[in-house]
Symmetry: C2
């Protein structure tokens, strides 16, 4: 802990603009912060335990805001208590979708840099590449025990498995909530389309039986570092398995916490429940009766309560930092019926570059350190957790210095409170495209449905305080911001020439599973069930990366 923090971390270009102006103040501040961290470590005889609890699709206000909850017809007393006793964030940014968000927080890099910007569905034949350095790897080097429990959604290749990415143990779902539908009930509810062949009319026009082969999908795996993975429940993927998965995650996460607490070993737990089953319980317990309200009660609230009770029982609550947050905005575009996933205060939701896509509910609790009852107006990004957790764990020297780390150290925000954040910018990518850039309270949209803006250089700026829904661009009034925004983008892109974006890595799926089923093995290389093809299968799956991405059409609400 000798050298100034961040000396060996390559930041994004914009950070250096801030450092040039604030570096001296920050250096003085950092000395005191380091001293405080040393005192804490002496007091507790260990660096802090870190629990990152993350779930899907919840806009700012979803918890910690009683009036929002009254309007929406549900309550989360456990989460609200957590927020009240800690720091609630009003400006936590994430990537706009599950896969990029989860990748970003684990690597400290925007998903564009690791090629993980696409939301995955089975079978992907790709996943987080081994060359990436995850938070689990960084913290492991500093002596932390690391465990992953819940929805990972970072691919189906062997190298993407969390126990191959630095976690000591893992119990995880490979994909997202749609797996709650990939069973006979989903077909009965017309919630999936033509997946379950045994329930469909015999199709005399069908010529290809390899187009969808859901019986080969792998939903849930478990694994320990250095060992092969094992499929949970031997490949059963019924709705009940989906619902049991979060209960099992809770059990394992708490056991891991207990084991390490008793062994007096600091730990880092990524506990990311699958939560929202897309087939609801008929019996409702909230006024909302939407999946959101209901699944808070079924999964999140009991998780948080059990977590906090366990930490108290173990006597480690004071020295444990919990960050509870969502991974991206609500699924406002074509949500499952009755999900309750409407827009929050912002325009747009999952997949969008407007604030509704990337600004989420988040709070941090650290009883001995974070002043209770705080509301932070500072900008913070999920990638900052990577860098901040590394500092708190005394692991900053293990952050790789051969790539841009987007995460900024936000220790000062946690320890000193509101207005002590160190971020004033955000480059918002939508898939592979830089769609918007935020600077302080201003935001420029680089893409727009309005060609007068997008194509002719009249790109407009939005004032996020004054126009939080990004509907009334400041055109004339914001012209003085246009060239500064362009310079900011140019710096960001030039820096990439030195530190280029990487691709994700295509590979056979589902390898490294000890109890792999025959149908799983058969599908691991597509379309491997076919004996003879005039092309190479691996060459074929690598071509997937070259597909044009905007085949999906709608660039989001923009203007």
């Amino acid at each position: 802990m000798g050298s100034a923090f961040g000396a060996n971390v390559i930041h994004d270009a914009e950070y250096y603009i801030l450092e040039a102006q604030n570096g001296k103040v920050w250096a003085v501040e950092d000395e005191k912060l380091d001293q405080k961290l040393v005192e804490l470590r002496q007091k507790y005889d260990t660096p802090p335990n870190i629990i990152h609890y993350l779930w899907d699709d919840q806009p700012v206000m979803s918890f910690g805001d009683p009036i929002y909850q009254k309007i929406r017809g549900y309550e989360t007393p456990q989460l609200n208590k957590l927020a009240n006793e800690g720091m609630l964030f009003s400006r936590m940014y994430t990537e706009p979708g599950c896969t990029p968000s989860r990748s970003a927080v684990l690597t400290g890099q925007l998903a564009i840099r690791t090629g993980t910007w696409e939301i995955g569905f089975p079978i992907e034949y790709t996943g987080l590449a081994a060359e990436n350095v995850t938070l689990a790897e960084v913290l492991s080097q500093a002596g932390y025990a690391t465990g992953f429990y819940g929805k990972l959604h970072l691919g189906d290749t062997e190298e993407s498995y969390p126990h191959n990415q630095g976690f000591d143990e893992a119990f995880w779902a490979l994909y997202n909530q749609v797996t709650s539908l990939y069973n006979n009930m989903g077909e009965g509810a017309n919630a999936i389309i033509g997946m379950k062949e045994e329930l469909l009319a015999e199709n005399p026009y069908q010529r290809d039986r390899t187009f969808i082969q859901d019986e080969a999908y792998v939903f849930y795996l478990e694994g320990k570092k250095g060992e092969q993975a094992k499929e949970w429940r031997d490949g059963s993927r019924e709705l009940q398995d989906y619902k049991d998965f979060d209960i099992e995650s809770r059990k394992r996460a708490l056991a891991f916490i207990r084991g390490n607490a008793e062994a007096k070993k600091p730990f880092y737990v990524a506990w990311w429940p699958l939560w929202m089953s897309f087939i609801s319980e008929p019996k409702k317990v909230t006024l909302q009766r939407g999946m959101v309200g209901e699944e808070y009660q079924r999964v999140i609230e009991p998780d948080i309560e059990a977590l906090r009770t366990t930490l108290e029982e173990l006597g480690i609550a004071e020295n444990t930092l919990i960050v509870a947050m969502s991974d991206n905005g609500p699924m406002t575009h074509n949500p499952p019926p009755g999900a309750g996933l409407g827009e929050g205060l912002f325009t747009g939701g999952k997949g969008d570059f407007t604030e509704g896509g990337v600004r989420v509910a988040a709070a941090a609790l650290w009883p001995s350190v974070i002043e209770p009852g705080q509301l932070a107006g500072d900008m913070i990004h999920e990638v900052d957790l990577f860098t901040t957790f590394a500092r708190l764990a005394g692991a900053r020297q293990y952050i790789p210095s051969d790539r841009v780390i987007d995460g900024i150290d936000q220790t000062a925000l946690l320890l000193k409170g509101d207005t002590h954040g160190r971020r004033d910018y955000n480059f918002i990518y939508q898939g592979p495209d830089l769609a918007a850039t935020v600077k302080d309270q201003y935001k420029i949209h680089w893409t727009s449905k309005d060609p007068s803006q997008a194509k002719s250089g009249l790109t407009a700026v939005y004032d996020l305080y004054n126009d939080h829904r990004e509907v009334n661009p400041i055109v004339v009034g914001g012209f003085h911001m246009k060239e500064p925004f362009k310079r900011m983008r140019a710096r960001h892109e030039l820096w990439k020439e030195k530190y280029p974006d990487r691709h994700h890595k295509r590979a056979p799926a589902y390898t490294g599973i000890a109890n792999a089923r025959p149908e799983t093995i058969a599908i691991s290389q597509p379309p491997a069930a076919l004996k003879e093809l005039p092309y190479d299968v691996l060459e074929f799956i690598e071509k997937l990366d070259d597909l044009p991405y905007d085949a999906t059409g709608d660039p989001g609400p923009g203007e």
Copy 2:
């Protein structure tokens, strides 16, 4: 106070459906509430003072919600304190525009019943008719002193003047915030269009000099019951007059309060600031820098602080009920530039029948009675204040019984708290049309841009908890609610055959002003400046009522 409350009040048809099911419980509850009110009156030797503080265009969450304010970049510590020490409403409904809203709260009737559903601009030649019975008239009969200070926006005819509508004294603005623009600065800012002829090029094509005659407009009047009105500042209408007006309102409201407190006379004060000047101060004091954030600091916050300090000083704070609220949703359609009037959590704003138009920020403080720190999820409507205030003042017998009073007594909600409201419905008019109906958490849109819904009987129902933005109609899943909603509407409309809607009353404008200027007198009957016309001027202004209303086009966001 002998007979059961409401025995002589004619409610809307739907209320009787509720009474038939809840009447017995409510009767028992009412006895206890009456007893409590008697005890309070004995304790304080007077019924409670009532202060209704109302301002424009603020969605739910605008105050009392720190995270909303952090996101929007402004703070209202005084209002938040008021909300924290009293009851914050999550479901206060109003009419969707200023004029109908102000009329509704003063008469206890939806604006459709009094013909006041149109937002007025100078010169209207109409206003609240004398036949209406206002809250000031009702409370005056029970011995209350009554004062009006601020923006009335209920017409420019003599009978609409507040001192002719039951207020002992009044100091008021006849129109809304646009009067902040009707001066040379407005023309300089291009914020008004071609109004100030002396600043425009000589127009050789102009043939009619009576089309706009702004020099005749009257913006600010004062008056005392039984006397003629007097124009404030002798007709000066500069921007500074606009800004001074709220300061003067504050001075007079507090003097009125002080005078009556010292005379030990209970009082009712309607204090409705003009607040949001559409020409801003160049120097900003909030991060938002929008008119909303800025004008909270300039007007509303100092008002609330001065009010509470004064009540404390006078020793009457405990026995004074303050209701602080907005009159309708934000002006989301074509707002003034930089207003900061974006949508809140709901779709739409001022003028819309979606929740964004009619659901507002509101709180009630009554230190000796309302339990502090409450958040009410009950439905309440501004018309309920009429009926509730009348009960609290011991004035229910003065509520007229020859018309439908839409207001429901909500004393139980104030005194017993969350879940004790008595309303579960709302008929939402947009101008003269019934546009939507709310029942409990469900809402039907009677008008829609989608003809498959609006014309063929597939009208859809929205679940306000699950889909608070009213974007995903429950069609098939809500069919069981369609016929009950139709019956509800039929009852509402049949009841109108017995108690028909009234028209507002056309009349000459600006009569009864002691110091009327010559140009004002000249314009009082349009187009009175012209010597000879082949038609009758009064007949002409009454024809205004027959104009088709939807000439304005857009029915709002609907679907």
